[in-house]
């Protein structure tokens, strides 16, 4: 070992230097002050780099990063959906509420004018009917619920999207919802196929349990499609 050779090894990681060479280096630096200083400097730099601190990612920051990723992805999807929406709609749809009398003889919701009234704090299956002029495949369904209303069994879920199809004629979507008392807002149903879409808004409100007589009356009224 000599000073020139040692100088060339100063920037080689110690793990890459053979043991025999390392032994030669140690013998050399015992008798060479300049090389001793340089070698110690190399070791100090390596140790300092290894010990160099980096901040930890806090839980809050991790949550923030993921939330921004999901929000950006949602925004991108919305942008894609909104691009190229044609003025010509091929969906011939009509929105209305139908009584699902097979499942709930007395419904837990009523229509008051144009407003859907739900019984608060109780899972309620709401039927939303779409009338399609022809069979439509690959229809993107999007349901957005107002704050205070969520899908039964899925706390916090107020935005739903999935792909399905509509048959010619009436199609019924049964939404299991739970609403908190005092909730008042819009239920939005969006249907799109390719670049065509339609959006339906329904005013919705949650109230304390209805009196039994009122529920029966509204149930009968809707079962027979008869209003007083």
């Amino acid at each position: 070992m000599n000073c020139e050779l040692l100088k060339k090894l100063l920037d080689v990681p110690a793990t890459e230097i053979p043991d025999a060479t390392l032994a030669d280096i140690h013998i050399h630096i015992e008798s060479c002050h300049a090389c001793n200083q340089a070698w110690r400097m190399k070791q100090l730099l390596s140790a300092a780099l290894k010990a160099s601190p980096a901040p930890m990612l806090s839980e809050a920051a991790a949550h923030r990063i993921l939330a921004q990723v999901f929000a950006a992805d949602t925004q991108r999807r919305r942008n894609v959906m909104s691009v190229g929406i044609a003025a010509v709609l091929v969906l011939g749809l009509a929105l209305g509420f139908t009584l699902n009398h097979f499942m709930v003889p007395v419904p837990d919701y009523v229509m008051r004018g144009d407003k859907l009234i739900l019984q608060s704090e109780r899972p309620t299956t709401v039927g939303v009917a779409f009338d399609a002029g022809s069979t439509l495949k690959d229809v993107h369904f999007t349901i957005e619920l107002p704050a205070g209303i969520q899908v039964a069994g899925q706390p916090g879920v107020r935005h739903l999207t999935w792909v399905g199809e509509l048959h010619k004629g009436k199609n019924l979507l049964k939404l299991p919802l739970v609403a908190h008392a005092g909730t008042d807002g819009l239920l939005t149903a969006k249907l799109s196929q390719g670049t065509d879409h339609q959006t339906f808004n329904v005013s919705i409100r949650a109230e304390a349990p209805l009196p039994m007589g009122s529920r029966l009356w509204h149930g009968l009224a809707q079962a027979f499609d008869w209003r007083s």
């Binding site: 100063l10 920037d11 080689v12 990681p13 793990t15 890459e16 200083q37 110690r40 400097m41 190399k42 070791q43 100090l44 730099l45 390596s46 300092a48 780099l49 290894k50 010990a51 160099s52 601190p53 980096a54 901040p55 930890m56 990612l57 920051a61 991790a62 923030r64 990063i65 993921l66 921004q68 990723v69 999901f70 950006a72 992805d73 949602t74 991108r76 139908t98 009917a129 779409f130 369904f141 899908v151 039964a152 069994g153 899925q154 879920v157 935005h159 739903l160 999207t161 999935w162 399905g164 509509l166 048959h167 004629g169 009436k170 199609n171 019924l172 979507l173 049964k174 939404l175 299991p176």
Partner: protein, 203 residues
């Protein structure tokens, strides 16, 4: 009788995908952020870099779902994102973009029972190291970060960066030499050192 529209709220794709992605990526987040911080030298930039990587990943579930050993893949993706795209959008010199105070940095470390005097010396040294690192070109800083700070071996870096072993070694050699030169020039213009106990200190 109306046709019933299939509705499966328990299989809601968006919510399920977010939950799956979160569970998949969370064990790697700290490593990604730490490495991103070493690359960028800036807390907010590190968050931005990680966020951009995760967004790209999230939008390609076919990529991340089938990864058996994601660590190497993630590190490579982070490195490539930094080198190929991210750095072009950030023009400010790194050494002017350190906004995390040294106190914050020290507080984030697990110091254990470190001797205060020794820590003071280390702090001075670390400041000099950070200054020197910030002056390095990005490709040298990243390879030093991955090898000397994050502890990846030369062989691992060869796989991770998809570079021949010899190329990794030569890049690492140049990076270390450059760092040493900058360190000597910045921290110790005269190139003199004094010995304190078993350690060598820059004057």
């Amino acid at each position: 009788m109306p046709s019933i529209i299939p509705f499966h709220p328990k299989r809601h794709p968006q919510v399920q995908r977010q939950a799956e992605f979160t569970a998949w990526v969370k064990p790697h987040l700290d490593m990604l952020y730490r490495t991103a911080w070493r690359f960028t030298g800036h807390a907010q930039d590190a968050e931005d870099l990680v966020q951009e990587l995760l967004l790209r990943l999230y939008q390609k579930p076919a990529t991340w779902i089938k990864l058996d050993n994601p660590t190497t893949w993630l590190m490579r993706a982070l490195h490539n994102l930094f080198v190929d795209h991210w750095r072009r959008t950030r023009h400010a010199p790194l050494n002017r973009r350190h906004n995390l105070s040294w106190d914050d940095l020290i507080n984030s470390m697990d110091l254990g029972g470190a001797d205060p005097e020794r820590l003071a010396h280390s702090e001075l040294l670390q400041r000099q190291i950070q200054t020197a690192l910030a002056s390095l070109p990005h490709e040298q800083r990243t390879i030093l970060a991955l090898h000397d700070m994050e502890g990846h071996t030369v062989s691992e870096l060869s796989v991770l960066l998809k570079l021949p072993l010899g190329t990794v070694k030569s890049r690492l050699f140049r990076a270390r030499r450059h760092l040493r030169e900058i360190f000597l020039a910045n921290g110790n213009p005269g190139g003199e050192f004094y010995v304190l106990g078993d350690e060598v200190k820059a004057t």
